[in-house]
Amino acid sequence: METNEIPQYSIETKDLSIFYGTFKAVSDVNLLIEKQKITAIIGPSGCGKSTLLRAFNRMNDFVPSSYVTGKVLMGGQNMYGANIDPVEVRRKIGMVFQKPNPFPKSIYENIAWGARINGFKGNMDELVEQSLRGAALWEEVKDVLQKSAYELSGGQQQRLCIARTIAIQPDIILMDEPASALDPISTLRIEELMQELKKNYTIIIVTHNMQQAARVSDYTAMMMLEKDGSRSGTVIEFSETKKIFTNPKDKRTEDYVTGRFG
């Protein structure tokens, strides 16, 4: 892909492999993530879903001895290239984690902090309100903005984490099993929120819940350990979610989505 073309994809990976020391955790992934769609990564536990997701915003940098081969292209630039600033990558690609992890600060500060360190110059109150509205949390917390974020329920905390992510106006939001620690009602609210968010953002979500993937995503990447016994995970099938669940090409995908395996 040429850098001067306007890319129609948010993220493109080319032969992406991820290593921890000598261990190859994820091998040869080629994906085209479409803009303003939700892409789900599914697969059995330990197949490298989260590792792959974390490669998209260079969170694996914090694991000593980890490195990647191949490319992750964003807007035509390889985000593992020599001149790329990981801090700026993470600002453009936000992340929501498995367990809600608000900062031990007030609700207001949780959102304002990220904006401030990234040099936000506009009206902070406005940004906080917009972000909380964007995460469908405003109505619940507008009177308690100065309270500690820890006083919120788990589902509210997770939406706060989404709010603080959209406050720094990323292009892409990565979600690592964002509802796995939540009750069914909170899960539903997060899923509804995702449908709202995809109007403005590209979303990539890792989930082990296949119903969730089927409900929320437009595209699905199926990951599995390689057959050669190397314990490396790879994407065995990637297409529209409908196809994956109704007419998978790979036998292993079929076994997995129909519950015969995993």
């Binding site: 600033d85 801090v87 700026e88 040099g119 110059k121 506009g122 720094i168 403005n200």
Partner: protein, 412 residues
């Protein structure tokens, strides 16, 4: 949402903002690391300071000319010749007294040589120099000595010698040694550990294996943690009031027929130190017992063992290395403690080896304190030498503890 988009820096201003943030990040890193550098420098300065004091030039004069006693150079005298000189020149009373302490024939040449210098020739130290000065200003020092003390001899001396380790106290720094202090420290620590190890281990077993979570046991646990933080001098006051004063008949040995004694004995000091290290031993033993996997206890109960059988046959043997590590750490704490010994009344001038728990005594840190606070620089030199002895002792103990700990860690 998009209305805010232009409020984040883009392009050139983004580049500059990022550059600033990265500069702050590296400044922070350097600042944080410099704190460690300061810690390292302090340690280096401390060790340098000690070594600097323990070696160096000394200018001294002989009060009595050696040629009054012998025509040979002093260094060439044999043991027999030294013996003869001492016999001929010491008063017979002094000679007999020395002979009674330890037969003169059985003393080594270096001890006799020291006696010759100390009793007959007698040394008068004029000035001492630090190791740094001795190395870098040796020419100046020589010139200075030649001018200021024309009679004096200048020699490069290690204040830390085998003789220093094996001689008892003396009121002259040149002849003082740490023998009695080392023995005093060993006796004191021995009594402390004999007292604290069984009781501390017992308390740890009780708290880990028997105690349920009731109010009393919580109080005991909190109390132990707090005792660990009580200033050591307060333990000294406790020892003074209880062991030295109230239990004087016991600690002085008078009920065992020891006469001419008061409560300021090794026994009092040892028990005081035992109480001081008790919380340390309990807490370490608790950690060691906690580390024994529960499956082991359950296996024992599964074959019908009682609580004590499970503890005695399975938990304790597995926790033992950890408990020993803890006791070694307690020993090193006790060896270095000074304040409580001052309070319970360690004497500073003891020239006889302690011969039992009812002896008066001195200890290494007491000597270091005493010598450091003397005004004459030659006492600072022997204080430095005693510090080296103490640090080497502690290093050995701690290395043993680390080795033990590593062996335990490998097991689980």
């Amino acid at each position: 949402m998009n209305s805010n988009h232009n409020h984040y820096p883009e392009g050139e201003s983004l580049r500059r903002a990022l550059a600033t943030r990265y500069r702050n990040a590296s400044i922070g890193r350097v600042l944080f690391f410099s704190a460690l550098v300061i810690a390292i420098l302090s340690l280096v300065a401390l060790l340098y300071n000690v070594i600097d004091g323990a070696f160096g030039y000394v200018a001294f004069e002989y009060k009595n000319d050696p040629t009054e006693f012998t025509s040979k150079p002093l260094d060439d005298l044999t043991k027999e010749e030294l013996l003869a000189i001492l016999k001929a020149n010491l008063s017979s009373g002094a000679y007999t007294k020395l002979d009674n302490e330890k037969p003169m024939e059985k003393r080594s040449r270096s001890v006799l040589y020291t006696l010759l210098l100390e009793r007959l020739i007698q040394i008068d130290t004029k000035q001492t120099w630090s190791l740094t000065d001795s190395i870098f200003r040796s020419g100046e020092i020589k010139a200075e000595v030649a001018q200021k003390y024309p009679e004096a001899k200048l020699e490069f001396r290690s204040w830390l010698t085998p003789v220093f380790l094996t001689t008892p106290m003396s009121s002259k720094a040149e002849f003082a040694g740490v023998r009695t202090a080392i023995f005093g420290s060993l006796w004191m620590v021995g009594i402390a550990i004999l007292f604290a190890l069984p009781i501390g281990t017992g308390a740890a077993i009780y708290l880990q294996e028997y105690a349920n979570k009731n109010f009393l046991n919580r109080v005991i646990q909190t109390n132990i943690n707090n005792l660990a933080g009580v200033p050591s001098i307060v333990y000294g006051m406790l020892g003074l009031a209880i062991f030295v004063r109230t239990l004087e008949p016991l600690t002085s040995g008078s009920i065992f027929g020891v006469t001419d004694a008061n409560g300021r004995t090794i026994l009092s000091a040892g028990l005081t130190m035992g109480i001081l290290v008790l919380p340390l031993i309990i807490i370490n033993a608790q950690e060691a017992i906690k580390a024994v996997p529960d499956s082991l206890r359950q296996a024992a109960f599964g074959v019908g063992a009682t609580r004590w059988q499970a503890v005695w046959h399975h938990v304790l043997p597995n926790a033992l290395p950890g408990i020993l590590t803890g006791s070694i750490l307690a020993v090193s704490r006790a060896i270095g403690e000074t304040a409580p010994l001052i309070v319970v009344g360690a004497s500073t001038f003891i020239s006889l080896d302690p011969d039992g728990p009812f002896s008066k005594f001195t200890a290494l840190p007491i000597q270091i304190y005493q010598w450091t606070t003397r005004a004459q620089p030659e006492f600072h030199s022997i204080a430095a030498s005693a510090i080296i002895v103490l640090l080497v002792l502690l290093l050995t103990l701690n290395a043993t503890a680390v080795l033990l700990r590593n062996r335990v860690q490998r097991r689980y």
